[in-house]
């Protein structure tokens, strides 16, 4: 019996949250609470690194699988596993959570205990989403995750936080309940085919489903994931949620939560319903391209930095979806890589915007200007993260976007051409924002005396900068574990769609 590392990844944050319940929520215990939360999330991060180090990168199968009966009469099991697609997303979650906690030391002073508990519970649910390979368990984590996020936005957010929190929750839930029905339908088909209910993903992969049914199920899954990504035109909750959420919420939302939509497409929607996926891939790709260009154009005119970054997420996530719909090695591998690198660079951008707004209590671009002279170090890291987000070669964003465009070009050159304009546009809006904030004369008195990066902020931002460079320079190190799992997924999609397509044509 080896150590159940995956379960412990889910359990440690919960244990930490329970531990925090017993700390008194008073002024002087604020430090203790923060320390406990930080240590717990740091521990989780170390564990994710341990997981990575012991992960066999050459294997495409699920590893560290843990299986326990949960509700045996329905074939539901507590089934965890990790493969190349989920591994790095788990590491990303472990990486960003402590940074989000540390990044909010200045900005959150109200109810620190409840705040830390919410973040830890959220971390546990997020890791659970990436690790579960039982559809029922996946749905449980998927839905459970909404509650702490809802509280994070609703309690610690800005002015219109309640509206944003409720909108976030209802939007996401409306999408996911139909997915629940599709999951139930899948299990029912499985019981018809084999005589026993099962929610085991690996078994369901082998289930052959009539193309008509596939279409319905695919639509239900795709809707849930499209809202989460968010894919145009389901994106309207995102700017609200991002703008109103506290910094930590935005970092986790952009860094991890959005990836669940694209992760869901790769893990569930495509391989489970290959025929429908092939049918709808052009539709999804078109929406993705529209999202890329639309997100970029809207980002360009935002007066608020946070909103600008939020819309840039719509654009960047469009790339990810596009890469997935290409359904070839480069496209999907690039998409998975881009999920990570977007988590790093957008997480970093939100942290930096948070630092600025901690200092000035505003996020309006017009309020800033000439920061280069006042806070040179902050501006330096800001520049690196901005360039990473744009996709400058040598930084993380480039690799993913390049691979995606390569893959998409092989599949549909026209799509690739349209998408490539998004790269140019992203340079425009990001650099323009950067220029207005950091260059030129110091326009406002209030900006003249801003402090530069503090030690704590160095601790928050340095890992991000380091990782952005590392992922840009050594992409193979990160791509290696992704490859086999993507290959397996793709060959599965091919097998699934080929014979049935012929059948349908007859």
């Amino acid at each position: 019996m080896h150590f159940p590392i995956l379960s412990s990844l889910i359990a440690v944050p919960i244990v930490g949250a329970i531990l925090l319940l017993f700390v008194r929520d008073e002024e002087h215990s604020e430090k203790t609470i923060r320390a406990i939360a930080l240590i717990v999330s740091g521990l989780v991060f170390l564990e994710t690194l341990l997981l990575w180090s012991r992960f066999d990168a050459s294997s495409a199968e699920f590893q560290f699988v843990e299986r326990h009966d949960w509700i045996p009469s329905f074939g539901i099991s507590y089934l965890l596993g990790v493969d190349g697609i989920s591994l790095l997303l788990v590491v990303l979650t472990g990486f960003l959570t402590p940074l989000a906690l540390l990044g909010s030391w200045e900005s959150v002073h109200k109810r620190v205990k409840a705040f830390s508990i919410c973040i830890l519970l959220l971390e546990s649910a997020m890791i659970g989403v990436f690790l579960s390979i039982d559809l029922f368990l996946f749905y449980v984590f998927w839905d459970a995750m909404l509650v702490p996020m809802y509280f994070l936005i609703g309690i610690w957010g800005y002015e219109r936080r309640i509206y944003a929190a409720v909108k976030f929750l209802l939007y996401t839930m409306a999408g996911s309940v139909l997915m629940l029905l599709a999951i139930l339908g899948l299990a029912y088909l499985q019981s018809v085919a084999t005589g026993a209910y099962s929610f085991d993903l690996v078994k369901l992969y082998d289930l052959s489903i009539a193309p008509r049914t596939q279409v319905w199920f695919f639509l239900a899954f795709a809707l849930a994931f499209a809202i989460k990504v968010p894919l145009f035109p389901f994106h309207t909750w995102l700017p609200d949620a991002h703008v109103e959420a506290p910094t930590a919420g935005s970092v986790i939302l952009a860094g991890v939560l959005l990836k669940m939509g694209t992760y869901g497409l790769v893990r569930f929607a495509l391989p489970l319903f290959p025929v429908a996926a092939a049918l709808f891939a052009p539709v999804l790709a078109t929406l993705a391209v529209v999202g890329i260009i639309y997100g970029a154009l809207v980002a360009m005119v935002q007066p608020d930095m946070k909103k600008l970054v939020a819309y840039s997420s719509v654009s960047h996530l469009g790339f990810v979806v596009l890469g997935i719909t290409a359904m070839n090695m480069q496209g999907v591998q690039g998409a998975v890589y881009q999920m990570l690198s977007h988590g790093i660079s957008t997480g970093g951008l939100f942290l930096i915007v948070g630092m600025l707004s901690d200092r000035r209590h505003t996020r309006l671009i017009a309020e800033y200007g000439g920061l280069k002279k006042v806070t040179p170090r902050l501006v330096a890291v800001f520049l690196i993260v901005t360039l990473a987000s744009i996709g400058l070669p040598g930084l993380n964003g480039f690799v993913g976007e390049f691979l995606i465009l390569l893959g998409v070009f092989r599949w549909n050159p026209r799509m690739a051409a349209f998408a490539a304009t998004g790269v140019i546009l992203s340079a425009t809006y990001m650099l323009w924002m950067f220029q207005r904030v950091n260059y030129g004369p110091v326009t406002s008195e209030k900006n003249a005396r801003l402090v530069d990066l503090r030690t704590r902020e160095w601790l928050v931002i340095a890992p991000i900068v380091a990782l952005a460079i590392l992922m840009g320079v050594l992409p193979n190190f990160f791509l290696r574990p992704i490859g086999p799992a993507v290959q397996r997924m793709l060959s599965h999609v091919e097998q699934g769609s080929a014979p049935q397509r012929i059948e349908a044509e007859r």
Partner: protein, 477 residues
């Protein structure tokens, strides 16, 4: 010889406790406080132990009361309802100076009636049980005699309830006229051989109306918001869960065993009813500003989900009814328990705005209320999620895909109003708020915590209870 009485032992325990409560009240010196609630607790524990002993024995008494596992499961749910109601009633009784003995005795009599209703296998006994529980609940609804709202609620409830009882009785008469019996098994065999004649359909329709009133589904739901708002919260919690459990148990027994051969006929009527119940319950619920009325409409909507399970009619559906009743009982009683604690002598404090800032005043109460709301809304990892999932999987299996879609979409809408309370408690600063109650009584607090724990238990480790539910339906269908 004695074995013939086995099946009625659980309800006899409760009835004995009720009688004891009345005697204790009658013989108490004025001003003396008798431990009446614990008496009820003892009776209910006895019922629980008796049910456990009878499990899998399929005992039956007098040919009309059957302690099959189905009945015993519902009895178990009712024991939970009873214990939580007893524990949560204390603060209301003290505050309103209600007659302690009568209150508990009525509650226990109602419980005995509910248990009988769940176990009866004869339409007349079902009617008898229905009246026992209904009359007790009418009185409980109006037990605050000097409160106009309470009296109005009781009167409305009584009139409409009596009306529906008449429908039900008329239906029984028809059934008897057609089949020559009121015993469910005989009805089943006659109905199976005769098929659906117009008169049978009339009889089924009349029975349906009677049940529909009791479980408050659209279009027979009008009394619910008024009755729920007017009754003391502890009573509302009791009747919204206990009456529903008992009535649904009988509903399932009559329609899925005796009238199962006519499934196609009554299902055609029932599915629009289920859809309308889910939709109206949630949509009207959104517009409510009074928490009790909101939960009344939520209760209607939950009736719709239960109806969906009943309609499905397969093993999952029947099991789902049982599991759902348990979940709903624990959750709703907890919610009304919190509402009851927030009342004070001057004001009911039951508008949504009254909950503003509760988190700051009383974090623990806000936390358990949040658990109840999340469970009603069907969030994992609470019991509400498993219950809804069970219902929807039954519906999918039975081919009611569209109803399941209506179900999940309405449950999203319902989340909106459950969250309004959460928004108020956590995200809105307290206004010039009411004088907050000093503290939560120990017993009531323990009951709330027990409900919350049970909700998480059923949500995280439901396997055992699900197996019990599955075993329960095996015995009668």
């Amino acid at each position: 010889m004695m074995a013939g009485f086995n099946a009625i032992v659980p309800m006899a325990c409760v009835a004995a406790a009720a009688v004891a409560a009345m005697i204790a009240e009658a013989f108490s010196v004025p001003g003396e406080r008798m431990p009446i609630a614990p008496l009820g607790g003892i009776g209910l524990t006895g019922a629980a132990l008796a049910s456990a002993a009878l499990w899998n024995h399929n005992a039956s008494s007098f040919g009309v009361v059957s302690a099959d596992n189905f009945a015993l499961f519902v009895t178990g749910v009712l024991v939970v309802v009873g214990l939580l109601s007893l524990a949560l009633s204390g603060p209301t009784i003290d505050r309103e100076h209600l007659p302690r003995g009568e209150y508990y005795a009525l509650m226990l009599f109602a419980l005995a009636g509910m248990m009988l209703m769940a176990s009866a296998t004869d339409l007349l006994v079902i009617f008898l049980a229905l009246e026992v529980l209904s009359i007790a609940v009418y009185v409980l609804t109006g037990i605050r005699r000097d409160s106009p709202a309470s009296t109005e609620a009781a009167f409305k409830y009584f009139l409409l309830g009596a009306f529906s009882s008449a429908f039900f009785l008329y239906g029984i008469a028809f059934v008897y006229g057609l089949t020559g019996s009121t015993r469910l098994d005989r009805i089943a065999s006659v109905v199976a051989s005769q098929g659906a004649s117009p008169l049978t359909l009339v009889a089924v329709g009349l029975l349906l109306v009677g049940f529909a009133f009791k479980v408050s589904v659209v279009p027979f739901h009008m009394w619910t918001p008024d009755a729920y708002q007017g009754a003391p919260p502890a009573v509302t919690g009791f009747m919204s869960t206990g009456v529903k459990a008992a009535a649904f148990a009988a509903f399932v027994r009559v329609f899925l065993s005796a009238l199962q051969p006519l499934h196609a006929s009554w299902a055609a009527v029932l599915w629009p009813v289920a859809a309308a119940t889910m939709i109206i319950g949630t949509v009207v619920g959104v517009a409510q500003n009074n928490v009790k009325r909101m939960l009344a409409y939520s209760s209607i909507a939950h009736g719709g989900y239960l109806l969906l399970a009943l309609l499905s009619g397969n093993d999952y559906g029947k099991g789902a009814v049982l599991f759902y009743l348990l979940t709903y009982a624990v959750t709703n009683l907890g919610a009304f328990g919190v509402i009851g604690l927030l009342e004070d002598a001057e004001r009911p404090n039951d508008t949504v705005a009254d909950y503003a800032g509760l988190w700051h005043d009383h974090p623990a109460l806000a936390a358990v209320m949040t658990v109840f709301m999340l469970s009603l809304g069907g969030f994992p990892p609470t019991a509400g999620f498993i219950a809804k999932w069970y219902v929807f999987s039954a519906a999918i299996k039975a081919g009611y895909t569209w109803l399941a879609i209506v179900g999940v979409l309405t449950s999203v809408v319902s989340v909106f109003f459950y969250l309004r309370i959460v928004v108020m408690m956590y995200m809105t600063p307290a206004g010039e708020s009411i004088a907050r109650f000093p503290s939560v009584p120990k017993v009531a607090g323990a009951a709330l915590i027990a409900s919350a724990v049970l909700i998480f238990y059923l949500g995280i480790l439901p396997a055992r209870v699900l197996d019990w539910a599955a075993a329960s339906i095996g015995t009668i269908f």
